[in-house]
C-alpha cells in the first residue's frame, strides 16, 4: 500500500473547487492524479460523473490503469469516464451536430473520426513554400467548410480541395480538422454556452493530467467547465512544458489559472522519490530554484542513456550510443536509412526506430507486407556492414533492397547531402562492433521516464542557460530541465562534436 506524503494527501483530498497541482519530476504525479480522481468520484453527489482527461491514448491508458489499481475496477464505470481531450472534442462536436447547431456537409450527424488522413486519396507530403494544406473550419453560417492554408513547415495532409471536400462529405474527418472546427465553434457564444451546459449536465468534476500539454482549445473547454460550476483539477509541471512547437500553449495555462471567477488554489508537489545520491537531489533543487548549475563531464561509457534536443548530436557523443533515429526524414533515402536503423535498434535495444511508420509511408510501402519482409531484406545489409562493407556500397545496396520491395528506388542526393548520409552509415557501422550499446533519445521521448545514469549532450546555447539559471514555461529552458531531471543518481555532460553546435538550425524532432 503506497503511503502518500503529506503534500500528496493534501492535494488529492483538497476541498477547493478549483485545484492546480504542480508536480515536480519524480513526485508521483500519476499517483496523485489517480488519488484525486478516486477522491472526487466517491464524494457524495448526484448522478453526474467525474471525467479524467489527458492528451494521448497512452497517457489515458496509464491513468486508467492506475485508477483501477488504486480504487478498483468499478472506479471508471458510468457515469465516470477517462478519455483523451480529443475524444471529448469528438463527443462535443457530435452533440452540437445532434442539436442542429452546426451543419455538416450532407447533413451528416455521425462522423468517422481518424487520427489523420493517411490512406485516403489526396493524402501526401506537403512542403513549403508552394504547398497549401486544406483545413476544415466553420464559416459564418455555422457550416463546416474546407479552407486552404499555406504550409510553413513540412507536413502531411490533404492538399487538394476536391479530395478534402469528398472526405468531409463522406463524414470522414481527422482529429486535427475536428479541433479546428470546434475552435471556431467555441468563439460563438451560443455554441460555447451549449458546450458548457452539456458539460455541467453530464459531469461534476474534471481531472486534467499533464495540463501543460494542452492546446488553447483544451484549455478553453476546461475554462468553460470551471465557469459552469464543475470541480476542476489541473495537474502538471510548468517546468516540463515541451510541446509548444506542436501547438501546446503552456503560457495560456497560466492565463486560465488567472481567468476564472473563483480562484485556482495551488498545491505544490516538490518532494521527489526519484533523486538519490550526492548529486541529483541538489541539482534538481537548484534547477527548480532558477539557480545556475554546472554538470560534471564524462564519457558515454558511464551512462545508461544519452539525451539531446535533436538526433544528430547523439551520433557523435560516443560510439556506444545507439540513437533511435538519424535525423528528421527529408527524402526517400532518409526513410530507407531509418528502416535500416530499425533493424539494428530492434536487435540491440528491443525497440523500434523513431519515425518508422512515417518512413514506411514515405516510401509507399505496404505496411503489412513490409513487416513480413523487413528483416529478410535488410538484415544482410547490416551483416555486410558489420563484416566491413564500405558504407557507400552498403547505401547503394540499401537503395536496391528498397527497389526490390516493389517501390521506387530512393534517388541519389546532391553531393553534400549524399556525403552526409554515407557518414551516417559509417557511424552506424561503428555501433555494430560494440559489445553493448545504450539508447540515444531526444528529450521528448524521455519525458516521464527515468534512468540511473544519464548523459546529456548540450548545445552551446544550452550550456549558457545553465550558467544563468532556468525559467519555467520557456521552451528551451524546459528542454534542458527535462533532460537534466531524468537521472536518478548521476547526470553528466557528454561532449559532442563541436561542429554540430548549430543552435540556429535546430529543428525540433517530430514526435510520434
Amino acid at each position: 500500500m503506497v503511503r502518500l506524503t503529506p503534500e500528496q494527501a493534501l492535494a488529492a483530498a483538497a476541498q477547493d473547487r478549483l485545484v492546480n497541482i504542480v508536480s515536480a519530476p519524480g513526485s508521483g504525479k500519476t499517483t496523485v492524479a489517480a488519488e484525486r480522481f478516486g477522491y472526487q468520484r466517491h464524494l457524495a453527489g448526484d448522478d453526474r460523473g467525474v471525467l479524467g482527461l489527458s492528451f494521448n491514448r497512452a497517457a489515458v491508458a496509464e491513468l486508467r490503469a492506475r485508477i483501477s489499481a488504486r480504487w478498483g475496477g468499478g472506479a471508471i464505470a458510468p457515469p465516470h469516464r477517462a478519455m483523451t481531450f480529443d475524444h471529448l472534442h469528438v463527443e462535443l462536436l457530435h452533440r452540437l451536430l445532434d442539436a442542429g447547431l452546426i451543419n455538416w456537409p450532407n447533413g451528416l450527424r455521425e462522423l468517422d473520426v481518424r487520427d489523420d488522413y493517411r490512406g485516403t486519396a489526396g493524402f501526401r507530403f506537403l512542403a513549403p513554400p508552394s504547398n497549401f494544406l486544406r483545413v476544415a473550419v466553420l464559416d459564418g453560417q455555422r457550416n463546416v467548410v474546407s479552407r486552404g492554408r499555406r504550409v510553413e513547415q513540412p507536413t502531411t495532409g490533404i492538399g487538394n480541395v476536391a479530395a478534402h471536400d469528398a472526405l468531409l462529405s463522406a463524414g470522414i474527418v481527422s482529429h486535427g480538422d475536428l479541433r479546428n472546427i470546434l475552435l471556431s465553434a467555441m468563439q460563438v457564444d451560443e455554441l460555447s454556452e451549449f458546450a458548457a451546459t452539456w458539460l455541467a449536465e453530464n459531469y461534476r468534476a474534471l481531472v486534467v493530467d499533464e495540463v501543460y500539454d494542452a492546446a488553447f482549445l483544451d484549455l478553453k473547454v476546461a475554462h468553460l467547465a470551471a465557469e459552469a460550476g464543475l470541480d476542476v483539477t489541473l495537474i502538471g509541471d510548468p517546468w516540463q512544458a515541451l510541446y509548444k512547437w506542436r501547438g501546446a500553449t503552456p503560457d495560456k495555462v497560466q492565463r486560465l489559472l488567472g481567468a476564472t471567477t473563483d480562484r485556482f488554489v495551488e498545491y505544490q508537489q516538490p518532494q521527489s522519490f526519484r533523486f538519490v545520491g550526492g548529486q541529483m537531489p541538489e541539482l534538481a533543487r537548484a534547477l527548480r530554484n532558477g539557480e545556475p548549475v554546472s554538470l560534471p563531464s564524462g564519457t558515454s561509457e558511464q551512462v545508461n542513456v544519452a539525451l539531446a534536443r535533436t538526433w544528430r548530436p547523439l551520433w557523435s557523443a560516443g560510439d556506444n550510443i545507439l540513437p533511435l533515429s538519424f535525423r528528421t526524414i527529408e527524402n526517400a533515402t532518409d526513410a530507407a536509412l531509418n528502416l535500416l536503423l530499425d533493424v539494428v535498434t530492434r536487435g540491440r535495444l528491443g525497440v523500434n526506430s523513431f519515425g518508422r511508420e512515417p518512413a514506411i509511408a514515405r516510401l509507399g510501402l505496404d505496411r503489412e507486407r513490409f513487416q513480413a519482409e523487413q528483416d529478410r531484406v535488410l538484415q544482410p545489409i547490416v551483416a555486410g556492414l558489420r563484416a566491413g562493407r564500405a558504407p557507400a556500397d552498403a547505401l547503394d545496396g540499401l537503395r536496391n533492397a528498397i527497389r526490390d520491395l516493389g517501390v521506387s528506388r530512393p534517388r541519389r542526393l546532391g553531393t553534400a547531402a549524399e556525403t552526409e548520409r554515407i557518414a551516417q552509415v559509417e557511424r552506424l557501422a561503428a555501433r555494430l562492433s560494440k559489445d553493448s550499446v545504450v539508447p540515444g533519445l531526444t528529450v521528448y521521448q524521455a519525458k516521464g521516464r527515468e534512468w540511473e545514469r544519464v548523459g546529456v549532450v548540450l548545445t552551446r546555447a544550452q550550456r549558457a542557460l545553465l550558467t544563468t539559471g532556468l525559467h519555467e514555461l520557456e521552451d528551451e529552458h524546459c528542454v534542458v530541465y527535462v533532460a537534466l531531471t531524468r537521472a536518478k543518481r548521476l547526470c553528466i555532460r557528454l561532449d559532442g562534436d563541436p561542429a554540430l553546435d548549430q543552435d540556429a538550425l535546430d529543428v525540433p524532432a517530430d514526435d510520434d
Partner: protein, 609 residues
C-alpha cells in the same frame, strides 16, 4: 427503459423454431400453460443477462436444440421522457441507443452455458437481472444462506437516507455492543481458559491467541443479526423466527426485501465518515483531515465494489410464480404492489410469469403476454396489446376485457380451449353435459374438468371471440361459443349470424347454436329428467313435455328459468347414464376437444403434461 424483446433459438421450446417474446413496458405478466414455453422465456431472460443475482441453477445440456443457439435481448427507452430512469437519461445524454446484445448458448461440461456477448460490455454491464425463480426457497434465502439480499437492503436505504449515518454508524453500534459483551467477566474467564489450553497444545510452536470477540463487525455480520431480528408478526412482542411463519408471508417478504434492496439509480453511495465540504474554522491537522477524507473515500469504494448495483443501472426483476402459497386476496395485493412499485421506481422493471388466473385477472390486458403452443407445435408468445384490430374496435374490446377481468377475477379468458356461454346456468349445465359426453374416457374427462367455460352475463356478441381468435394472432387454440338463435317457428329456422362471423377462422373459432335457446334444445331424450327437475323446482309441469311446451312455459315465466336450469343440472349429474346429450352440444364438444388439423391423426394430445 425496459426490456422490450427477447429472442431465443436452439433452446428448449425454441429448439426447432426461434421464439420471440415482446413486452410493452416495465410491468408485464406472462401467462401460459405448462409446456407452452414459459420456462424457455424465463431461462432465456436469465441466461441473457451477464450481471444477474442469484446465480442460475445449472441447466442440463439436453435443453439445447440444434445450432444456431442464442439468446438476444433488446431494451427500449420509455415513450414518455418523464418516465425514463436515471440510467436511461444518462445514455440518451451520451447519444447512445437503448442497450441490446446477444449471447451464444453453448455446451460446457454437460451443462448449458451462456457465452460471451457479441457486443461490448458497455451495453450490458449496467443492467442487473434479479431473478426469483420458481424453485426458490424463501426461508432459506432469507434466513440461512443468502444474507446478501439483506445487505443490499441496508445499503439501498443508506443511499436513500444518508442522514441516518449509514452502515458506518450501525457498525459502530454493533461493535460497541460486541465489546460490552466480551468485556464481561464471564466471557473473559472463558477466553483465558481457552488460551491456556491452546498454549499447552501448541506448546511454543507459535502462540495464537484465541479470543472470543475477534469477529469483524462487517456488513455480513450485520446482516446475520438483522435476519434474526426480522419479525413476521404484526406485534413485535410476539415476533417469531422466520421458519415458524406462514410460508405465504415469507414468500411475500422475500419478494419485498429483494425489491426494497434495489437502490434508486443515480444516488451516489454516501461517504461513510462524518465529512462535510465546508472548511473547518481552524483546521488543526489539515494533513490528518485529508488522510481521513481519503480513507472515507476508500471505504466508499469498497462498499461500491461490494454492492450488486452500480451508481447508474436498470434492474429487471423476473419473478416466477409469485402466487406460491398465497391466498388469492394476497395475490391481488401483490400485483397491486408490483404495479405501484414500477410506477414509482423508473429504474425497475418487473416481469411476472404465472399460472395463476387471479394474477392475470388483476392486470390490465395491455400488460399480458400469452404463451402458447400453436397447432403446429411451435411455441409463440403473443402480447395481448398487439392484436391486429382496428382502433375503435380494439379499444372497446379491451375495455370489456378489463371489466370482465375485474368483475370475475377470472382469467379463464386466456385458457387454451375456451367455451363461451351466456350465463352461469348455461355454464353449470354444460359442465354436466360435458361429463356425460366424456363418459369413461379419462382423457375426455380430464379435458372437461379443466375446460374454461366463460359465462358472459349477456348475449354472446363480439366479445371475447373477436379478441381471442384473430387469424395469425390467436390467443387461444380453440374457442367455441354457444349462442341462442332466439328464432322460433316450425321448422326451427337456421341462425342468422352477424356479418363479422364470416371473418372467423373456422378451425379456431366457431359458433354453435341452440334453437331457439338452450333449455328447449335439451328436452329431446331427457323428458323424464326434465320432469323430475320441474317437480323439484316446484314449477308447473307442462303436459306433454316437449321442446315447444318447455319453451312456451319459460317465455311466460322467465324468472323460473335459472332455478330450473340449476335443478336440471343437479338431476342430470346424479344419473349420467340417463342423459342424452343433444346433437349440437356433442358436435361442440367434439370440435373443441379435437386436435387441430395439422397435428397427428391420433386423439388430440392433452394440453397439460
Amino acid at each position: 427503459m425496459y426490456l422490450k424483446r427477447i429472442r431465443i433459438e436452439g433452446y428448449r421450446a425454441s429448439a426447432n423454431s426461434p421464439m420471440t417474446c415482446e413486452l410493452g413496458g416495465r410491468f408485464s405478466l406472462i401467462v401460459g400453460a405448462n409446456g407452452a414455453g414459459k420456462t424457455t422465456i424465463n431461462e432465456g431472460i436469465a441466461l441473457a443477462h451477464p450481471r444477474r443475482f442469484p446465480s442460475l441453477a445449472p441447466i442440463d445440456a439436453n435443453a439445447l436444440g440444434s445450432p444456431p443457439r442464442s439468446v438476444q435481448v433488446e431494451y427500449a427507452y420509455e415513450t414518455e421522457e418523464s418516465d425514463e430512469g436515471a440510467f436511461g437519461r444518462f445514455r440518451k445524454r451520451q447519444g447512445l441507443g437503448a442497450p441490446k446484445w446477444s449471447r451464444p448458448l453453448e455446451r460446457s461440461l454437460g451443462r448449458v452455458r451462456a457465452g460471451t456477448p457479441l457486443e461490448s460490455a458497455s451495453e450490458y454491464e449496467d443492467i442487473r437481472l434479479v431473478h426469483l425463480p420458481a424453485l426458490r426457497n424463501p426461508v432459506d434465502d432469507l434466513s440461512r444462506r443468502d444474507a446478501r439480499i439483506l445487505l443490499e437492503l441496508l445499503r439501498a436505504d443508506e443511499r436513500r437516507h444518508p442522514e441516518t449515518g449509514g452502515l458506518h454508524a450501525l457498525r459502530g453500534q454493533a461493535a460497541a455492543m460486541l465489546t460490552a459483551i466480551t468485556s464481561h467477566q464471564l466471557v473473559r474467564n472463558v477466553e483465558d481458559r481457552i488460551a491456556q489450553n491452546f498454549r499447552t497444545i501448541s506448546g511454543g510452536v507459535q502462540e495464537h491467541h484465541a479470543f472470543v470477540g475477534t469477529q469483524q463487525v462487517d456488513d455480513a455480520y450485520l446482516a446475520r443479526v438483522f435476519e434474526l431480528l426480522l419479525a413476521m408478526m404484526p406485534e413485535r412482542g410476539a415476533a417469531k423466527r422466520l421458519e415458524a411463519s406462514s410460508l405465504g408471508y415469507v414468500n411475500l417478504l422475500h419478494i419485498a426485501v429483494t425489491l426494497a434492496g434495489i437502490p434508486d439509480a443515480g444516488t451516489a453511495p454516501i461517504q461513510d465518515a462524518d465529512v462535510s465540504r465546508v472548511a473547518d474554522d481552524a483546521p488543526q491537522d489539515p494533513v490528518g483531515d485529508a488522510r481521513e477524507r481519503l480513507a472515507a473515500a476508500d471505504e466508499s469504494a469498497d462498499a461500491d465494489a461490494d454492492s450488486f448495483y452500480p451508481q447508474l443501472f436498470h434492474a429487471t426483476v423476473l419473478i416466477e410464480e409469485p402466487e406460491a402459497h398465497l391466498h388469492p386476496q394476497l395475490q391481488f395485493g401483490l400485483i397491486r404492489y408490483l404495479r405501484k412499485l414500477v410506477k414509482e421506481r423508473p429504474d425497475i422493471q418487473v416481469i411476472v410469469t404465472t399460472h395463476s388466473p387471479e394474477l392475470a385477472a388483476a392486470c390490465e390486458p395491455e400488460e399480458l403476454v400469452v404463451v402458447r403452443r400453436r397447432a403446429d407445435g411451435v411455441s409463440v408468445a403473443r402480447r395481448v396489446a398487439d392484436v391486429p384490430l382496428p382502433g375503435a374496435l380494439k379499444t372497446r374490446l379491451f375495455q370489456q376485457t378489463r371489466l370482465h377481468l375485474d368483475a370475475t377475477r377470472s382469467s379463464a379468458l386466456f385458457g387454451d380451449r375456451v367455451l363461451v356461454v351466456e350465463g352461469v346456468t348455461e355454464a353449470t349445465l354444460l359442465r354436466v353435459l360435458g361429463h356425460v359426453w366424456a363418459g369413461d374416457d379419462e382423457l375426455r374427462t380430464g379435458f372437461i374438468d379443466s375446460l374454461a367455460i366463460l359465462p358472459l352475463g349477456h348475449k354472446v356478441g363480439e366479445w371475447p371471440i373477436r379478441l381471442l381468435a384473430i387469424p395469425g394472432h390467436e390467443l387461444v387454440t380453440r374457442v367455441a361459443a354457444l349462442a341462442d338463435t332466439d328464432r322460433r317457428g316450425d321448422p326451427l329456422p337456421e341462425p342468422s349470424p352477424p356479418t363479422w362471423h364470416g371473418e372467423l377462422d373456422s378451425t379456431t373459432a366457431r359458433f354453435f347454436w341452440s334453437r331457439p335457446t338452450l333449455e328447449p334444445s335439451l328436452v329431446a331424450g331427457n323428458e323424464a329428467l326434465v320432469g323430475e327437475a320441474l317437480d323439484e323446482a316446484r314449477a308447473t309441469k307442462p303436459d306433454p313435455i316437449t321442446a315447444e311446451t318447455i319453451d312456451a312455459a319459460f317465455s311466460a315465466q322467465p324468472g323460473m328459468k335459472g332455478e330450473f336450469a340449476l335443478t336440471l343440472a343437479r338431476v342430470m349429474d346424479a344419473s349420467h347414464a340417463r342423459v342424452t346429450v343433444p346433437a349440437h352440444i356433442t358436435e361442440m364438444f367434439d370440435w373443441l376437444y379435437a386436435a387441430p388439423a395439422s397435428s397427428s391423426d391420433e386423439d388430440a394430445e392433452p394440453d397439460e403434461w
